[in-house]
Structures are given as structure tokens and as C-alpha cells.
Symmetry: C2
Subunit: 406 residues, 2 copies
């Protein structure tokens, strides 16, 4: 696909876009170009409808009976099955539960119990992944190793048992070569936990084919499941029953309603459940996932890449330097541009209705969700960025006020 060189060419691409109808599935505020779906996706209409139903009808009218009658009790698994389709897993291999952080802990602890060794994370991994590996390492008096994330041979030595790595890097959006890492992992008897947070829902994944056995991921980014939506966890069905995770709550019990004094893990992926799931948040995610049910993920990835290519070509012309791979096939659905006054530029863009985010120390991050963004939107956003840089509008002191944005 040729990167458009004008607004007209962008509009032409939009007119031919096979995914153009998906924008209508979303509630989007007027006057906004939202380039932050990599941080928090906007609400699909079906997520809001499903949430209202869960609250009013299921909770309000069905009350306690909704655990059975509305299928709440099966929601972690049925919602997991919807995600399984997007990542190349079987329906019974994914469960929705807790947060990415908690799921990483469960999986890393279970794997390291089975085969004791060092726990490793990528040096520049999303910090929470490193923090939780550190927490587990301290609790179990296990070594923690930080390794370079660009070369699978780093898995050799150090007696690594478990390695945590993102498929799409949270800053650069570089896509990892899963098969190459798994190949090296097999040689060294390492279990890799793939963090799909910035990958699920936006690049084509075939975990099984790539040899990936373990993964976690986020519900609130490109899956559009709502703020802090519950996370998911994948384990290959051939090995799941060998794993015993330590957060043994009643929902992971084989027979939770027997109220037995002894813990017997459920067979299959449900053993990675823990406490009672937060049904309202889970219902919104479940609704959001409807969008994906009849979608060609190849087309999704292709459009995300096209939008990113367009933005990067404009940014390059502005003299901005990118930390993201230039080659679209090696890049997820966001791009990172480093710039000394990045924080202020992002604030100036927000003031103009172009919403991206910022990651310390100097990274402007822009996400290109192919579900609701048009090439013309990306063109217009780039126009505004260009204007802000040219006019130095970002030097307005109002844009220097620091806020927390997740």
C-alpha cells in the first residue's frame, strides 16, 4: 500500500478502506482525533449497552440469581474464548481475570515452581512487568535477571527458568519475533511469558503456531474493554494442568461451591482464576469484544501499519526522530517520537483535540487504532503537530503543567 502524500490521497484510501464501517461501532466525542487507543480504547457502543444490561437487568432484577441465569459464573471463560480467537489460541486456553500484573505473578510463580531457576525480564520492559518479577523474586528468594531484549541468545546462561517479554514494546512498538525467541527458549529450557498488552487486537497473532505457550494481556488498550478492564491469561492446554499458581482463590477451585477445606485446582485454564471477578467491568469488556468476532485480523494489522506509516512519514518530514521501527511489518499500532519538549507538545495537541500521550523522559506516543481512525484523521493530526512545532506553540507555559496520565 502506498503511503498517501496529501489529504486527498488520505481520503481516497479511507473511501476504499474495508474496515471503514467499524467507526460506527464506537461512541466518539465530537472534535477529537483520538491517538491514544494504545493506552485506553474508547467505548464501543456494545460495551456500553452490555454494561447497562449487566447493571440494570442482571444485577438489579436478577440479583444473586444472575450468577447462573445471566452466565456470570462462566464469563471469565466465555470472554476468554473471544480473546482466544484474536491471538491464535483455542477457546479453552484463555481466561479473563484480575490485572496484567496479578496474572504475570500467577504465571511466573507457577512456572518457576515447576522448574526452579532465575526469573528474567527484558531490561527496557514495561516497568510493572519488571516490578512484579522483582516482587516474586524477593518473596521466593529467586534470582532476578535483566537481559537485553533484542537478541534471543540472551536466554542462554544465567539458568533462566522464566522470561517475561512484550510482543509489542510499549515505547517503540517493535514487534518481537516470537518463533525465534521460542526456538532459543526451547534450547535453554526457558518458559517465556509473552505480554500481549500492546499487541492483542491490533496485530495478527498465532501464538500456537509460533510456539508460544504462556501469555498475559490487557483488556483496556486495543481491545477497548473500558478503563482498567480485566486482563487475560493464556496457557497452552497441553501444559496447563502441570501448573499450580499460588493465588489459590475459590474461583480457581475445581468445585468452588462445595466449600471444601482443601484446595483442588480446577482442570484447565480456570485454575488461573482467583477471587470473585468484577462482573461490571468484565461485562463491558465482553461487550467490547463483539466487535472482533467477524473480523480479519490481517486487515486490521495492515491498516494499523498504514496509519502508522503515514504518521511517521509526516513526522520525518518535520525532522522528528522516531524510536519505532520504520518498517511497518516490524511495528505494532503505535509510534514513539522523542523530542526534548515532548510533554509540552502533547499537551498543545490535546488542547487542539488531538489526543496522544507522553512517556518520560521525552517520548511522545501516538496510537493508531484501525477501528475508528481514518487516514484523513492521521493527516489532520500531523498538520496540527507540524503547526505546533513550526510556531513553537508548545512554549506556552500552560502546557508545562505536569499531570499523571496512565
Amino acid at each position: 500500500m502506498k503511503t498517501p502524500a496529501s489529504r486527498k490521497e488520505s481520503e481516497d484510501l479511507d473511501a476504499r478502506d474495508p474496515l471503514r464501517g467499524l467507526r460506527d461501532y464506537f461512541e466518539l466525542p465530537d472534535g477529537i482525533i483520538y491517538l491514544d487507543g494504545n493506552s485506553l480504547g474508547p467505548p464501543p457502543k456494545e460495551a456500553l449497552t452490555r454494561l447497562a444490561k449487566a447493571a440494570q437487568e442482571e444485577w438489579g432484577n436478577g440479583l444473586i440469581g444472575s450468577w447462573n441465569d445471566a452466565g456470570w459464573i462462566k464469563l471469565p471463560e466465555s470472554c476468554g474464548a473471544k480473546i482466544a480467537k484474536l491471538i491464535g489460541a483455542e477457546n479453552d486456553e484463555v481466561i479473563v481475570a484480575d490485572s496484567v500484573t496479578v496474572n504475570l505473578f500467577k504465571l511466573a510463580a507457577a512456572l518457576n515452581e515447576k522448574r526452579k531457576g532465575s526469573i528474567a525480564v527484558e531490561k527496557d520492559e514495561f516497568p510493572t512487568d519488571g516490578y512484579i518479577a522483582g516482587g516474586l523474586s524477593r518473596l521466593t528468594e529467586t534470582c532476578l535477571v535483566k537481559i537485553q531484549g533484542d537478541d534471543p541468545s540472551a536466554l542462554a546462561g544465567n539458568d533462566i527458568s522464566v522470561f517475561v517479554k512484550s510482543v509489542v514494546h510499549y515505547k517503540t512498538a517493535a514487534i518481537a519475533d516470537i518463533a525465534a525467541w521460542e526456538n532459543e527458549a526451547q534450547k535453554n529450557n526457558v518458559a517465556i511469558i509473552w505480554d500481549l498488552s500492546h499487541a492483542a487486537g491490533v496485530i495478527e497473532l498465532d501464538l500456537k503456531k509460533s510456539g508460544a505457550k504462556y501469555a498475559v494481556g490487557c483488556g483496556y488498550k486495543f481491545l477497548n474493554g473500558g478503563p482498567g478492564a480485566p486482563a487475560f491469561l493464556y496457557v497452552d492446554r497441553n501444559v496447563v494442568n502441570d501448573l499450580n499458581q499460588p493465588l489459590t482463590g475459590w474461583m480457581g477451585h475445581a468445585s468452588p461451591f462445595d466449600f471444601s477445606g482443601n484446595y483442588h485446582p480446577a482442570p484447565g485454564i480456570r485454575r488461573f482464576s482467583c477471587g470473585t471477578p468484577q462482573i461490571l467491568s468484565l461485562s463491558a469488556l465482553d461487550g467490547a469484544l463483539e466487535l472482533f468476532q467477524n473480523i480479519d485480523m490481517g486487515k486490521v494489522e495492515e491498516k494499523a501499519r498504514g496509519l502508522g506509516d503515514l504518521f511517521l512519514s509526516r513526522a520525518k518530514a518535520m525532522g522528528l526522530s522516531s524510536v519505532s521501527p520504520a518498517a511497518g511489518e516490524r511495528r505494532g499500532a503505535h509510534v514513539g517520537l522523542s523530542f526534548e519538549h515532548g510533554y509540552e507538545v502533547v499537551q498543545a495537541l490535546i488542547a487542539r483535540g488531538i489526543i496522544g500521550d507522553f512517556r518520560a523522559p521525552d517520548l511522545m506516543r501516538f496510537g493508531f487504532s484501525p477501528f475508528y481512525l481514518r487516514y484523513a484523521d492521521v493527516w489532520d493530526a500531523a498538520d496540527q503537530l507540524e503547526d505546533i512545532l513550526k510556531t513553537e506553540a508548545y512554549r506556552d507555559p500552560a502546557f508545562a503543567v505536569r499531570k499523571h496520565v496512565t
Copy 2:
């Protein structure tokens, strides 16, 4: 207060009930007497309003900006402050996060790291409390001890470091003497984690005064926060900074948005946060808690006791045997009646719009939330129970079909 001996006397009590106006704060389906608020509270209108606002306005319009603009980032603490009032804690001593199960793990792990010893739970504790203590004990190769829950002297010996105990027992509703246990705990250098799941919102608690330093509790029972609502965690502010919990996610970091490679726990209760909170579910809970803001918990406890006394006096007249303390001051807001055909009786009651629940092997459980129940409701429920027993209506085979109810 005299227990009413007729429907008329029940109605008279209702007319004089200082809490009678609170029923209007709830969405309750018609034709239902809901005796299961101990398992899942019904929706307060404010919970539904708050949830709709969080979804439509905050997520839909505010998008990522709502982490600051709508106060999402502070919600775990601001919501915790509302709960603090109900349990006799300071505003900055409670945080809302994760599930009871996960919170128990965090707290028990942190305490046992500080002072190594055996982890103990009450023998007949709610199973998930025992499961999670078992999970931690296996992971950290620490002894697990199950002790009798009726005598604080059981804390002596066994080198117990941490003991988990409910304030109100999930089956019997027996109220623990917190001060007596804490007194014994101090002698033996034991940290008690109080599980407030069946106590918070319905009995008057003064944790600080009773000497309790650590607690967890549930958001979806008498706090009416919605199905699977997030849980809470309390730590005395004088000791919180001595504790390091192992689920070190970015939300517990002192400066999460610095994206530092090293974990530094936040000062205060926020160090017990972990991953990104599920904002939709959290918002519903936050709305539900509004109900409690100007309430006299003494009056709440008194009415819960009165409703329970009425039901128990009727049950006694039917020849049913109670596992709950007869003395109201030693009993929480639910009662347990054991009966061979308990499961079928509960199903027969549900078919008549009287909703209680059942706990294996033979326990019928009925909860008496003083917020929306009237004495006349309890009288009518008892009438139906009496009729079902007399006519043996529970023998209808339709009532023997087993379902899961949480």
C-alpha cells in the same frame, strides 16, 4: 427492642424505624423479599447513576483524560476513605483494590516477610481464606496451621506469625471478640488479618479501638457495591510503611508515571495497590458507598439484629435448628439454619420470591440487610418458610436441581 409477635407488631416497628427511608435509595425488583444481601447486595440507585456516568461521560467523553479529570487515579484511595468511616479507621488507612483473595495474599505475605513463622487460619473459615493461606505457604515454604476459631488461646504455640480470621463467620454469623483476640495476639507476637467480608457495612466496627491493625473486606455484600465489586484492605498507618507486599505492580509504586526501572513502594496504604484498577466496577462501589455517609452504624447494627431476632424466633417455632448465636449482640446480619432438605427449601422459597442462599452440606442462609428490609418483609418470609415446611412443598423434584450460586 421487643421482637414482634405478629405482622401487625412488625408493621408498627417499621413505622417507627429510623432507617425506613433508606429503602428508597435502592432499585429493588417488585415481588421479591431479598434475604441475600450477605452474598450480593442489590443496587443502590446512586451506584447505577455513578456507573452510568463513569461509562458514558468519563470513559466516553473524557477518554484517557479522566484518569486525572474525573479522579480515577485517586479513586482507590477516595473510595477507601468512605469505607474507613464504617470500620473505625482513618481516611488514609484503607485502599480499594483487587479481590479479598488477592488482598489477603498481599497482606499475609508482607506480614510473614517481616516476621517469619507459621501462617494460621481458622479451621472453619471461609474456604478461600484457607486456600490462599495454603497457596502462600506452599510458595514460600512456610508452615500452614489450622486452629480452632473459638478460643484466642489457640494463638499460643506453633510459632504463628499471621492469623486470618473473619469478624463475622460466613456460616454462623458469630461475631469474634476482636479485642480479646488482639490481646492474645500481642502476647504471642501474632499479626491478625481480620476478614470483614460479612461484617463491613452492617455491624458497628471500631478497628483502631479494638487494637486491630490489619483487615481485608468485600465490596459486594452489605456494601452493595455490585457483583464482584473490588475489595478493600486496611493497615494501621503506624505500621504500613514497615510492610512490603510482593504483588508489586505499578499502581503501588511511589511514582508510577516516572516509569522507573526500580520499584519503590508508595508511602502509606497505596503500596498495597497493584495493577490498574477496574474503574467501572470501582465507580459503582464508590456510588453505593454514598448511602453510608451520614448513617449511624449503631442504628444499622441494631436493626439488623432486630430483623434476625424476628426470623430466628419464627424459625425456632417451626422446629428449625440454628447454627447462629441466639444472642443478637454476638451475631452479624445473617443467620444459618441447618435442615436436611435445606437446598430444596431454599429453591422453593426462591420460587415464591423469597431469596436466600444455601451452603453445603445442609445450611440455609438468610441475610437481613437493614437498608431495604422491613420487619413485615421478614415476617412474610417466615410465613412462606413455615408453609413450605408444613406442606412439604420442597419435595417437588424441580427444587432438587443443583445450580451454582455464589
